[in-house]
Symmetry: C2
């Protein structure tokens, strides 16, 4: 009985290995699979037949070959499986539907409901996910699950938001259980920065798989990727960098964040406070993240339109963010920094022309120049990462699948 | 020819696997080795015979067994191999002789020569290493090599000190080649913090293999150990944290370091400048690291003797160091912080009573309390790590041994 169960798991593991090889290729023959997996030709034949029957992979058209019978490339069936990724930023809610080929089939962005009761937000997310699946016209039986990227701190194992400073009413919210109840889908919860780093790593060139990802949204956070591994932290709460002092001479803002900290340098609330202080715009209701986010958009638009005061605020933000990035690069000795998150698109035109040189100036002597770039994935990065984590959870071969049971 | 060479390497690899299993045990039978290595009993028999012939391992006395013939435990022969570790702190030069059992057989500490010509220091190190080996009365043919732990930045692959701010005359010094020439030993160069983290990890309880190591010496540096792996950084120059701002309101010292930075908070030069500023002691020659280190010892002794002014300086240093540790823990989400390095023994009595709570206050909400402790290895930590890196280089099984050639 026990042995039979182990055998089944090993079979599942081999199947996952093969599916993973197909997913990561653009067409791979059975002979290639045999060579790369180390499995026998009979096992490959059986597994590929099963995967084709399950509609997870399919045979593609062989390319013309000069001699002999061309081998048939196997490719993933994009409609074989889906996952949904939801990124809860306090101001913006991003949802994507990912297909088995790793393409975003459909996405949407909404204002995050500023409800005092988290259950209203849960209901909103469930509705939005439902709407997205309907709009995509997909077979719902093939949706593997829902991945949630949320601000920390959170208890990933218990599926809890603990006490996120950015979501003041969300103390000890059982987000994973609540969303499972509301959607019927398996739900995976992870930190926003971890999900973002996961998606960014997938779309990175093979040559540079160590980097720091700076997440810019309603909050600021960092994640660290070293040698192809996303660093999660012992409690899965890596990347709290808001209190890192980046400007000892910074003004004291009327808020709870640390004076001169990285959060004070670049989160929308702090930027809007700075803009209001110099009379550039009225102060929005600071308890309304959407209002703050909109005001920050207005500030960025002013800077883009050439307003000198707005531009100076963003230039100063870039200088301060560069100091923070310098700290991370000096500490971790990574060759690359990636900036992303829901706020990044609005800051990039002010930041990108100046920030590589500013970071460079912060590096210790003899440190090689670091590559500073915007996210290759774009605004959906954390939502997409959450969806990819779900795909991996169900489809990728993991040592634990062999170890457990 | 090529195949033969591969076979030899695989044989070496298996031998290294077996030796490693013996090194990490306190007595292991051939049957245990067979089970743990997955090698055949014939292979184990051949390899252990060869290792015994080479005097790397030996048979120990079997413990009494109730029934059957007791199995013979194999243990490393402490005299089977040695390595030498040298830690070059600008003020203190620490040298240890490590035996194959991992014990420090003999060690010494000297003032680092404040020579303007690095070749004088190289000659001094070669003499000191020679003296240590003579004093230990060991078979020099069994010394595998010399490991050097040095302040960064350095080019580990080329064996160069690049431009260490703490060693002003050591620009592009070919330390590895020079010391090889002077000693005749194979030489390995690594960063002080990386060597220290290596030694600390070896002496850590199995339960906590993720930690930040804060190196306190003539300079300050950090290293990061995640899941049993010492993080080296892409260019092997991890851990430059001296510019991390830990006190935005700090005084401006008469030196080149960043105002309010972690270096200004705790390196001897900065502490001595602070002490001189309040009239506690005269300022030593700041270009003489030994004089600065001695003045810092005097400051610490005053604090230990109850001098209120000296105590306040060290208390402030502890507060500032705690802010830096908070940044590292919030970023990396590690459960443990270890303080060590040549300065640590002098600071520990002022730091240890207060620093755990001070670090705790810096942690983001819901971050679990972090364990803050002094090095389990002590003052020789970096020298010992350098010696261990040499042992590993020659004796530990590495995938690359299989890949190369």
């Amino acid at each position: 009985m026990r042995r039979g169960s182990n055998q089944l798991r090993v079979a599942d593991f081999n199947q996952a290995v093969v599916l993973d090889l197909v997913r990561r290729s653009r067409g791979v023959s059975r002979a290639d699979l045999q060579r790369e997996s180390g499995l026998s030709s009979q096992t490959i034949s059986n597994i590929t037949r099963r995967l084709i029957d399950d509609r997870l992979i399919r045979e593609s058209t062989p390319e013309g070959s000069a001699r002999g019978r061309p081998s048939i490339p196997l490719i993933t069936d994009p409609d074989g499986a889906y996952s949904v990724g939801v990124h809860i930023d306090p101001a913006r809610l991003t949802i994507v539907l990912l297909d088995l080929e790793g393409e975003v089939r459909l996405g949407r962005q909404d204002h995050t409901p500023q409800a005092t009761n988290p259950s209203e937000v849960t209901a909103f997310i469930a509705d939005a996910v439902d709407g997205l699946m309907t709009e995509a016209g997909i077979d719902r039986a093939r949706v593997l699950g829902l991945g949630i990227a949320a601000p920390g701190p959170l208890d990933v194992e218990a599926g809890l938001l603990l006490d996120p400073p950015q979501l003041p009413n969300w103390r000890n919210v059982r987000l994973r259980a609540d969303l499972h109840e509301a959607t019927g889908l398996p739900v995976l919860l992870d930190k926003d920065v971890t999900a973002a780093a996961t998606a960014e790593l997938r779309s990175s060139p093979q040559s540079s798989t160590s980097f720091v990802f700076l997440y810019l949204g309603s909050g600021v956070g960092a994640s660290v990727v070293l040698d192809n591994q996303v660093i999660r932290g012992t409690t899965n709460n890596v990347g709290e960098v808001g209190d890192l002092v980046v400007d000892p001479d910074a003004e004291q803002l009327e808020w709870s964040g640390r004076r001169g900290g990285l959060a004070a340098a670049c989160v929308p609330e702090a930027l809007v406070l700075q803009a209001a202080r110099v009379g550039l715009m009225p102060l929005p209701n600071l308890n309304d993240y959407v209002a703050v986010d909109d005001a920050c958009s207005a500030l960025c638009a002013l800077a883009s339109a050439g307003d000198a005061v707005a531009s100076r605020i963003l230039e100063r933000a870039a200088r301060r963010v560069a100091v923070g990035l310098g700290v991370l690069v000096n500490l971790l000795d990574v060759p690359r920094v990636v900036l992303g998150g829901p706020l990044w698109d609005r800051l990039s035109s002010a930041f990108l022309p100046v920030i590589p040189d500013l970071v460079d100036r912060e590096l210790v002597a003899a440190r090689e120049k670091v590559l500073v770039q915007g996210s290759a994935v774009g605004e959906q990065v954390a939502a997409r990462g959450a969806a990819e984590l779900v795909m991996d959870h169900f489809l990728a071969p993991r040592a634990s699948a062999l170890m457990v049971g």
